[in-house]
């Protein structure tokens, strides 16, 4: 195909680089510098999509990111697929594959258009009023149908091959928008030496200058661009959309790095999300032209007048050969003049105003362009492209008077409903807006952060004004090019143009993408939706992917008209981030997989991995759960490990336990306040188990703390609880008891910790230790400095298995070598390495609790049968008063008990509920739940721990555990210790 609508010269495209691409499978050519939209328009193709609800044929109405209609699915076939991409911002590259959306079987012949025929049945919010009968059909018929009809493009189904990056930046001044105002601001600030970041969503600097630049401005643009590029402290980012303006001048900007190249080198990230903390922000975001709301305003070929100028000036593309201009202001005359100068034949200018005056009008008249003043377009015709428009005169009362005899032939309608300062970011940054009657638009009013608006964003619609405001905002002191703006006359808003066409067919669209018509807004108001937020939600106007950039003010004004209220009284619409849709990938950046959340590994992790460990996640830690031998499942491995620990000995990596080094003259007093038991007399060399409560009296954490010296302690915590325990201790020390001199240091990762446990433990360990570790020298609950396998460390004689146990701590870097020495030495004594699962079984055999498994944040020490650890003598400790609350002393609290199933081979599931009766009725009263449950080879049967209401008084009673299959298992309540009940082994 030839580029029938491309001018022979002009534009900012690179004609030396032809680019081939496909659209819906057809091959086209364009030039480097084109967008997909401009390249298709160069071929005379306007039809690029179908609307959401009625499947109306649509072409682009805009040339930038505000485009609602021309949404495209890009797909390179290798996982790079992007639904809902605006054709107007897709930069062309060789091999680009674009598909239209929301049509079947093809864009030209879309059967979905039947919705348009039945559109009287689909008024705004029709779905709230129907699909309720028969009831079951909502789920089975109606909703699936609605869902299939909704949506636009298709979500990716393959992994994203691209990667994304983040950049954190700080600057004195962030300038958003590189039009005349933004450039002047950046230049002024840049020359003063401040750190400046200038971002613009386009691929080139210039903004409106790219359309309007004459000689001197063009030269200025070139000079400024090169000067800014040469300033080290100025960062200029093109193809970068300032997406969001958050609090405390924190903003995000999305830089597109490879999207426009089609090249995939595997090195460059696809996009980079900048997170910018700015001292000050200048918003020079320009203005966005409004559509006019008239019957048939959505036909392909109908577009914004400014868009036609952009296609002409930047891409040398004529959007039509017989344009008809429809406007309520002067700016569209520029489009008429430019199109005329480019050789098209202007069908007419239809101006709502009865007596427009000024230089632009004179110029149009001078060019011989026919101007219908006091007139409006009341309808358009054409199937996939407008080919004529009907004109009527409109009176001062807003009513149509006479219709122009015959529709005017045209192949495009260039409309202008005035301009909205692009205040989206200002509003996102909490700035307050006010309605400006002269512009008939919202303009910035009061800033709530360090931000200024300049140029059209501030409602200043001249280039000279933009330059000077920008320079001022940037700190002033620069020379500006002399610009003489043509003075424009006032606009005359007509928010909803009446139509003389009857019936429901002629539709005047407000929100193009979501197919919201002026009539829909009327229905919303009629039904009592008086807030603009209600109208938006009821009709979905402004909720599409363009977020109503061209339509929101129209909607607001039409609703205000219906309510006979002033526009500001109806409310301003809320601008929500992001400014344009932003990829999840870019937001996440490199925070994927292992970098999503760091993995913590112990010093012996490598050994465990090499020896076949199966790991589990505990907090951020990877812990070896069990060490299966070939052919062994978890059950087999755990049974073997459990038996062996109690028969010979076992070795476990306990490095993940939280370890806090506590020092200071008041360290002991501090411990005495945070633990429930007594700490004043614990001698150096000794260890003690402690339970920590929260102020509410519930168990918070537990662990053994050793007294290193009178003013020095080594505290251990649970693995998952370590960070919150440390934070809690710091909080108390700094804010509650600042008078106590005590210091905390996390040493979790400084020590490698290995527990060797079992009857042979001492025999295995002793030869490796330089010191005497006999029971006399190192009794249960004592610790000593020791040299293990040549490494200086500490040995704690503490046990979580009920066997003789030594917890060897050595500096982390030596962990694996000491571990290997113990393993080597252990071979003669049948030492087995075991994991957390075996540790869980062994401690359950002894009735030792695990905080977080037996407890769930609502258990007291008394519930756990641990009355012995709560000092009755201490005047205070954290949790003491909390325990006194009535419900914490109630008789029917859940209490920790043991459960034995009648069938010794039956292992209950953890989480199963306990009932008093075996007759199941729903709802069934539950009196407790199983917290821990294992097959215990050492006991020769299954064992379980449970929290049961009033359980301490139920010893020996039969209770019941209903199963998910409806059966019921009988259990007997027992004590919580199942093995070595007298506790002799631990001291051996």
């Amino acid at each position: 195909m030839t580029q029938s609508h491309r001018l022979a010269s002009g534009g900012r495209i690179d004609r030396s680089k032809a680019v081939r691409f496909t659209f819906d499978g057809h091959s086209f050519d364009g030039f480097a510098g084109d967008t997909l939209a401009s390249a298709l328009l160069a071929h005379g193709v306007h039809l690029m999509g179908r609307s959401f609800k009625y499947h109306r044929p649509r072409g682009p109405i805009a040339a930038g990111s505000e485009e609602p209609n021309a949404l495209i699915q890009l797909d390179d076939g290798n996982g790079r697929t992007d639904p809902n991409t605006r054709a107007t911002v897709i930069e062309l590259f060789a091999g680009l594959r674009a598909e239209s959306q929301n049509r079947w079987p093809s864009l030209e012949r879309d059967v979905g258009v039947i919705n348009d025929l039945f559109s009287p049945m689909f008024p705004a919010a029709f779905y709230y009023k129907t699909f309720m009968w028969p009831k079951s059909w909502w789920e089975s018929v109606y909703e699936p149908f609605i869902r299939a009809a909704a949506g636009l493009g298709h979500a990716p189904t393959m992994a994203d091959p691209d990667r994304y990056a983040h950049r954190h930046a700080h600057c004195d001044l962030l300038v958003v928008g590189a039009g005349p105002a933004g450039l002047a601001a950046a230049l002024a600030a840049g020359r003063k030496g401040g750190r400046v970041i200038l971002v613009d969503e386009n691929n080139a600097l210039g903004g409106s200058l790219l359309n309007d630049a004459d000689g001197p401005l063009e030269a200025w643009l070139a000079e400024v661009s090169s000067e800014l590029a040469g300033l080290d402290h100025v960062t200029v980012l093109t193809r970068t959309t300032l997406t969001a303006y958050y609090d405390h001048n924190y903003l995000t900007a999305l830089e597109r790095i490879t999207d426009h190249t089609g090249l995939v080198d595997g090195k460059s990230p696809r996009q980079r999300l900048w997170r910018i903390r700015a001292g000050r922000v200048v918003l020079a975001t320009g203005a966005i032209e409004r559509t006019l709301v008239f019957a048939g305003n959505d036909r392909p070929g109908v577009m914004l007048a400014s868009a036609a100028r952009t296609y002409l000036h930047r891409y040398a593309v004529l959007v039509g050969r017989t344009p008809l201009i429809f406007t309520n202001n002067d700016s569209a005359y520029r489009a008429a003049l430019d199109m005329r100068a480019a050789g098209t034949s202007i069908a007419a200018i239809v101006d709502i105003r009865s007596n427009p005056q000024g230089a632009l009008i004179d110029a149009a008249r001078g060019d011989g362009i026919r101007i219908h003043t006091g007139s409006v377009v009341v309808g358009t015709d054409g199937r996939h492209r407008v080919h004529q428009a009907s004109i009527a005169r409109i009176g001062a009362d807003g009513r149509l008077s006479e219709t122009l005899g015959r529709p005017l032939a045209c192949d495009c309608v260039l409309m202008s409903g005035g301009w909205n300062p692009n205040v989206s970011l200002f509003s996102q940054g909490r700035g307050r807006l006010r309605f400006d009657d002269a512009l008939a638009a919202f303009v910035p009013d009061r800033a709530m952060q360090a931000v200024e608006c300049a140029g059209a964003c501030a409602g200043t619609m001249t280039t000279a004004g933009a330059l000077s405001e920008g320079a001022e905002a940037g700190g002033g002191g620069i020379d500006l090019p002399a610009v003489e703006d043509i003075v424009e006359g006032p606009l005359q808003p007509v928010w909803a143009v009446p139509s003389d066409r009857t019936g429901s067919r002629p539709k005047a669209f407000v929100d193009f993408q979501n197919d919201v018509t002026a009539k829909d807004l009327g229905i919303a108001v009629r039904e009592g939706m008086v807030s603009i937020e209600h109208v938006k939600r009821f009709t979905t106007t402004g909720m599409a992917t363009d977020q109503g950039k061209t339509s929101n003010v129209n909607a607001l004004a039409i609703v205000a008209g219906q309510l006979d209220a002033a526009i500001p009284a109806v409310g301003t619409t809320t601008f929500r981030p992001p400014y344009t849709p932003q990829t999840f990938g870019a937001i996440v950046g490199s925070g994927r997989g292992r970098l999503f959340d760091p993995v913590r590994k112990t010093p012996m992790h490598g050994w465990a991995e090499a020896n076949g460990a199966v790991f589990e996640d505990v907090g951020n830690w990877k812990r070896a759960r069990y060490f299966p031998r070939p052919g062994e499942d978890m059950h087999g491995a755990v049974q073997r490990e459990c038996m062996q620990v109690r028969e010979t000995c076992g070795l476990m990596d306990a490095s993940t336990l939280g370890k806090i080094d506590i020092q200071g003259k008041d360290a002991r007093e501090f411990l005495n306040r945070v633990y429930t038991n007594a700490w004043m007399k614990l001698a150096p060399g000794k260890c003690r188990y402690g339970l920590m409560l929260r102020d509410d009296g519930f168990v918070f954490d537990d662990g053994v703390t050793a007294c290193i010296a009178d003013d020095h302690f080594h505290m251990t915590t649970t693995t998952g609880g370590a960070p919150r325990v440390l934070a809690w201790l710091e909080d108390l020390s700094q804010t509650e008891w600042p008078d106590l001199e005590v210091y905390f240091t996390s040493v979790t990762e400084q020590w490698a910790t290995m527990t060797i446990s079992g009857p042979n433990a001492r025999e295995v360990l002793a030869p490796l230790v330089s010191e005497d570790i006999s029971t006399d020298a190192l009794p249960h609950m004592a610790w000593m400095e020791a040299t293990v396998a040549g490494v200086k460390g500490r040995i704690f004689r503490i046990s979580f298995t009920g066997e003789v146990s030594f917890e060897v701590n050595v500096p982390a870097g030596y962990g694996q070598s000491v571990w290997e020495a113990i393993v080597e030495r252990g071979k003669v004594r049948e030492l087995c390495v075991y994991g957390t699962e075996t540790m869980h079984v062994l401690r359950a055999e002894k009735g030792y609790i695990i905080v977080g498994q037996e407890t769930d944040g609502t258990a007291t020490p008394f519930d756990l049968g641990m009355d012995w650890i709560v000092s009755a003598k201490k005047p205070d400790f954290i949790g003491k008063r909390g325990l006194e609350r009535p419900d914490l002393k109630a008789a029917d609290r859940k209490q920790l008990v043991g459960l034995l199933t009648k069938d010794p081979d039956m292992v209950l599931e953890e989480g199963a509920q306990v009932t008093a009766s075996d007759r199941i009725t729903i709802p069934m009263p539950m009196i407790g739940h199983v917290t821990s449950s294992y097959m215990s080879s050492n006991c020769g049967r299954s064992i379980a721990l449970a929290m049961v209401r009033g359980g301490h008084a139920l010893n020996g009673r039969t209770l019941h555990v209903p199963q998910l299959d409806g059966s019921v298992v009988d259990v007997t309540v027992t004590g919580t210790v199942f093995f070595d009940i007298e506790g002799a082994r631990i001291h051996g």
């Binding site: 958050y246 609090d247 405390h248 001048n249 924190y250 903390r277 909490r430 709530m448 102020d695 509410d696 934070a727 710091e730 909080d731 700094q734 804010t735 509650e736 600042p738 005047p875 205070d876 003491k880 008063r881 909390g882 006194e884 609350r885 009535p886």
Partner: protein, 99 residues
């Protein structure tokens, strides 16, 4: 994301901090009644306006400090040390917004 002026380190991103909730809560003695204890544990000022609260620079110096923040604008009005009384701000008494 807020920018918080750590009195020890200077301005830092909010992600380096943890908010510890309402400031100036006095831990009562053990002999208070259940209502007073409930109040200590659970009842908080939740003003729509200026709020005195505690922050800790936990991914920095690890130090706690107090701040006055407007819960409508989320602007910080003052940063002051633990143990200090809130500075005088128009419309503010004892850390409670009376405006």
């Amino acid at each position: 994301m807020l920018l918080i002026e750590c009195p020890f380190c200077g301005p830092r991103a909010e992600t380096e901090f943890h908010c510890g909730g309402q400031a100036h809560i006095v831990r009562p003695s053990n002999d208070v009644d259940d209502t007073a204890w409930e109040s200590y544990l659970f009842i908080r000022n939740n003003p729509k306006g200026i709020h005195a609260e505690r922050w800790v620079h936990n991914h920095g110096c690890g130090r706690w400090f107090n701040a006055l923040r407007d819960t409508v604008s989320d602007r910080f009005l003052a940063i002051y040390a633990m143990g200090e009384k809130p500075p005088a701000i128009d419309g503010l008494e004892d850390g409670n917004d009376k405006r």
